[in-house]
Symmetry: C2
Subunit: 290 residues, 2 copies
C-alpha cells in the first residue's frame, strides 16, 4: 500500500501506472509533477492524479513512493531538483528504457546510488505517448525489469517489485549493463531502423508513391517510427555504447546479405531467411502473439 | 465473367482470388495446377478449386483466364510447360512482387512478351502462406498494380483489371521498372531488414533473452520475418538490381545515423526521428491505419 505517490511525468507510463494503482485501491494520494502545467491539469481532470505541484522538492514532500517517468534526458535534472524535499523513508524508482545512464545520473546528483532507488524498466511502451494515451491494464502480463545494484536496499527493491506485481506485471531482475545490451538489440536498434527507413522513403523522388503503395507489412514494420522523437532521442543517446555495438553488428550482417544478393548467391539468402523465419515463428508461438 | 479459370499455385494469393471470384459468381469452373498434389487435394476439399491437373499444358486447355500465382523463381518453368496447351483467346496474368523478371521470363519462353499477358501485382500479402491461409475478401480495398507494356493488348488489360476490381481491389497501372523500384524500397528492403535483425538476435550469446524481453514494437517490426523464405528469396533474387540500390541507399543513411550517435550528435538524431515520425503519422492518417 502506498500512502502518497509522487509521479514525475504523467504520460503513457506514469499515467497508466497511477490509474492502475488507484483503481486497485493501492494508493491513498497521487501527486503529479511536470514542467508542463497543462499536462498536470489534464491529468487531474481525467482523475489520474489528485493534485499537482510544479516544484520537484515540494512535490516529493511526504511521498513514500517516487516514480520518475520522465524522458531519460531529464532524469538528472529532476533528481537534482527534488533531492532536498525527499523524505528519508521514500523509495524511488524510474521507468527509463536504459539503466546505466540512470545509475550515472544518480551518482552525479547524490554522489552515489542511493540505497532507496530501484532502477526499473517496464517493457510496455507503445508508439503513443502523453497523458491521453494512459490506459487501464497497460502492464497486465508485461515484463518489468529491475536492475538493483549492490547498494540497493532489499526492502526498497521489494516495495517496487510489489508495486509492479500489483498492476499485473511479471517482475525480473537483471544486471544493468546486461539490460542495456539486450534492450539495445531488441528495442533501440529496431527503432533506429524504422526511423531511418521512413526518413529515407521521405527523401526519395517517388516519395508520395512510396507510401501509397506500401502494404500491410510496411505498416507494422514502421509502426515504431511513430514513437515520440524526444523520448527515443534520449534513449539512443543514453544507451549510446550498447546501441552502437548493436548497430555495428547489424550493419556487418546486413552488408553480408547485400553482398550475397549482389553476387546472386541465392543459397545464402534462402538460408538466412529460413533461419530467421524459424526463430520468429518460435518467438510468436512462445509469446502467443501473431 | 470467366468461363474457365486456371490457377497455378493455390496458396494465399491464388487461393483467395479463386475463393472471391467463386463467391461472387464470377467464374464457372476453376482448375488448379501445382507440383504438389497434396495442396491441390486440400484446395479441392476446401472448395477453392473444382478440379486439378498436374500437367501445366493440360491444365490451361480451354481456360480463358490463366493466373500464375507461383513464386517468381518458378514463373519461367511454368510458362514453358503450359505454353503448348494455351488457347488463343486465353488472357494470362501473374501475381509476382517484382515485374521486370516476369517480363524477362516471358521473353525467354515466348520470344517476346505476349500481348495477352498482363503482369500484375496485388499488394495484399501477409506473413502467412499456403492454401490454408486463403481467406475471403483478402483484396477488398487493396491495391493491384498492373504493368502492361507496349505490346500488351488493351482488351487483355481490361479483363485483368475487371477481375481484380470485381474482388474489391483498386487497380492502378505503372511502368514495370518504376514498380520494381518502389516495391524494392517499401517492401523488399523492409523484409531484408526484418530477416537480418531476427537472424542476428538468434546468433547473439543472450539469444534466449533477446526474445524473452522483446516488446510489442519488436513483435510488429519483425512480423514480416515470418514470411515464406522461398517466396522472399525468389523476390530478392528477381528484383536484385532495384533491391541492391535501395539497400545501398539505406546503408548510407543508417551509417550516417550511427556516426551521429557515436559522436553524441543528438541534434541530428532528433531531427531524423522527428522527420520520420511526421511522415509515418501522416501515412497512418491517410491510409487510416494505426
Amino acid at each position: 500500500m502506498i500512502e502518497r505517490l509522487c509521479v514525475f511525468g504523467v504520460g503513457l507510463i506514469g499515467g497508466s501506472l497511477a490509474k492502475d494503482l488507484r483503481s486497485r485501491g493501492l494508493v491513498t494520494h497521487i501527486i503529479g509533477c511536470s514542467r508542463q502545467r497543462a499536462h498536470l491539469e489534464r491529468a487531474r481532470e481525467l482523475g489520474i492524479i489528485d493534485s499537482y505541484e510544479q516544484d520537484p522538492a515540494r512535490a516529493v514532500k511526504g511521498a513514500d513512493m517516487v516514480v520518475l517517468a520522465v524522458p531519460l534526458g531529464a532524469m538528472a535534472e529532476v533528481m537534482r531538483a527534488m533531492r532536498s524535499g525527499l523524505d528519508e523513508h521514500a523509495v524511488m524508482t524510474d521507468v527509463g528504457s536504459a539503466k546505466r545512464s540512470v545509475l550515472a545520473a544518480l551518482e552525479s546528483v547524490f554522489g552515489e546510488v542511493p540505497g532507496s532507488f530501484v532502477p526499473a524498466h517496464p517493457i510496455a511502451g507503445t508508439e503513443h505517448s502523453g497523458v491521453e494515451a494512459a490506459v487501464d491494464g497497460l502492464f497486465q502480463g508485461k515484463r518489468v525489469i529491475l536492475t538493483p545494484v549492490a547498494r540497493t536496499r532489499t526492502e526498497a527493491t521489494g516495495r517496487v517489485r510489489a508495486m509492479w506485481q500489483a498492476v499485473g506485471a511479471e517482475v525480473l531482475e537483471m544486471d544493468p549493463s546486461h539490460h542495456d545490451e539486450v534492450l539495445a538489440a531488441t528495442s533501440h536498434l529496431p527503432h533506429m531502423l524504422a526511423y531511418t527507413l521512413v526518413d529515407m522513403l521521405g527523401t526519395m523522388e517517388e516519395r508520395v508513391e512510396m507510401f501509397r503503395y506500401a502494404a500491410g507489412g510496411f505498416r507494422d514494420f514502421t509502426r515504431i517510427a511513430s514513437s515520440d522523437p524526444q523520448m527515443w532521442h534520449d534513449i539512443c543517446v543514453a544507451n549510446r555504447d550498447a546501441l552502437v555495438n548493436a548497430l555495428d553488428h547489424f550493419q556487418a550482417d546486413l552488408g553480408a546479405a547485400v553482398e550475397a544478393i549482389r553476387a546472386g548467391d541465392g543459397k545464402t539468402i534462402k538460408e538466412l531467411f529460413t533461419r530467421a523465419k524459424r526463430l520468429r515463428d518460435r518467438y510468436a508461438r512462445e509469446s502467443d502473439v501473431g
